[in-house]
């Protein structure tokens, strides 16, 4: 079992709901300080978005953040170099798209991530059926391959994906790209479908915008992922201290 899953299962056994914020790497020069601040504010793991020119699962906020980051010259090498040697205090999970890994070469990409201390990868455009080569390369390191499920996932695929995923299962609450949304979507049904076939920790993401939504989603799952709502504040100039308070407000709601 990969270390990410050991950590997240341990979290669950201690009765703590996971809070996983998403940051776009390189979006500001001080982005790693935002990550450290989030951990201080109560984040249990961190998603590190690696910017890609054609992010097919991302809405306008994260698209914009990717453009800003790419315009500043960010790439997989520079991100992993920045991360390597910096202990940010929580497991790091990369989220990006497959072309980057394919273009770099899978072994080289996984090696860079590993050097950067990354212990998980979410690659939304990599289907289970196409993933053998990537998973084999990751098995040479400690990188967990995390799969997504969604309201459109069929019963037999829930079983396949919940079994194949490592670390946790990413439950998309709605049929949408990343971005702000209202309400709970179909999170409860999606999480229950995973739980019917696997005991892997299951986190809800896509559209978690407010602490109240995070609290509601965490009641029926093992944790929540908050992305665009947070990235938007950083795009608008939030300081690391404000990021810490943002995360702390979600933490308080989830723990209440």
């Amino acid at each position: 079992m990969k270390s990410l899953e050991v950590t997240l299962r341990d979290l669950r056994s201690r009765g703590r709901k996971a809070l996983v914020p998403y940051f776009m790497a390189g979006v500001t020069p001080d982005w790693t300080q935002h990550v450290a601040a989030a951990v201080h504010g109560g984040a249990d793991a961190i998603e590190i978005g690696i910017p890609f020119s054609d992010p097919m699962m991302d809405g306008v906020v994260i698209q914009r953040a990717a453009e800003v980051s790419l315009a500043a010259g960010t790439n997989l090498d520079s991100i992993c170099a920045e991360l390597s040697g910096s202990d940010l205090g929580a497991p790091l999970i990369a989220m990006t798209y497959y072309n980057l890994f394919h273009h770099y070469g899978l072994r080289r990409a996984a090696g860079l991530l590993h050097q950067g201390g990354v212990v998980g990868a979410i690659v939304p455009d990599l289907t289970l059926e196409e993933s053998d080569e990537w998973r084999e390369v990751c098995d040479e390191t400690d990188i967990a391959t995390i799969f997504l499920v969604a309201p459109s996932t069929t019963e037999d695929r829930f079983a396949l994906l919940a079994t194949a995923t490592q670390g946790f299962c990413y439950a998309s609450a709605r049929m949408a790209v990343t971005g702000r949304a209202q309400g709970a979507g179909e999170a409860t049904r999606v999480v229950e479908a995973v739980r019917a076939t696997s005991d892997v920790p299951t986190f809800v993401g896509i559209g978690i915008t407010t602490p109240e939504q995070a609290r509601d989603a965490s009641e029926h799952s093992d944790g929540v992922i908050v992305g665009s709502a947070l990235v938007d504040t950083i795009l608008h100039g939030a300081s690391p201290a404000e990021t810490e308070e943002f995360i702390a407000s979600f933490r308080r709601a989830i723990d209440a």
Partner: protein
């Protein structure tokens, strides 16, 4: 096969024909190119406009801007790599009546 940077970021494409204004090609063409079963060449927008007008004027056949790339290549190579008298099969894969308004605007803009 994609037009991409050294870091795997997809670059902006440009073509006068909307159907070709895309930074990648489909898997069949990628396979044919990689396996050496087909050769692929590039044609610029200017040559395409000339080819579209030439075929329209000489034959009364208005090729799509996409297909006009093939006509342009044939006009360029006739008498050179392709000897005169050679029988050539050209796939005129699309009709240009969809493009005449755009071509008219481009040519008018130059008058």
């Amino acid at each position: 096969m994609l037009i991409q940077s050294e870091h795997g970021q997809i670059e902006e494409a440009h073509s006068i024909s909307a159907g070709l204004d895309y930074p990648g090609i489909g898997p069949e063409h990628a396979y044919l190119a990689a396996s050496g079963r087909a050769d692929y060449v590039g044609i610029g927008d200017e040559d395409v406009l000339v080819a579209l007008q030439t075929l329209s004027e000489l034959e009364g056949i208005i090729p799509a801007l996409e297909s006009a790339h093939a006509v342009a290549w044939l006009m360029q190579e006739a008498g050179k790599d392709i000897a005169r008298g050679t029988t050539v099969l050209l796939n005129l894969s699309g009709r240009g009546d969809k493009d005449v308004a755009q071509v008219r605007d481009i040519l008018r803009g130059r008058e």
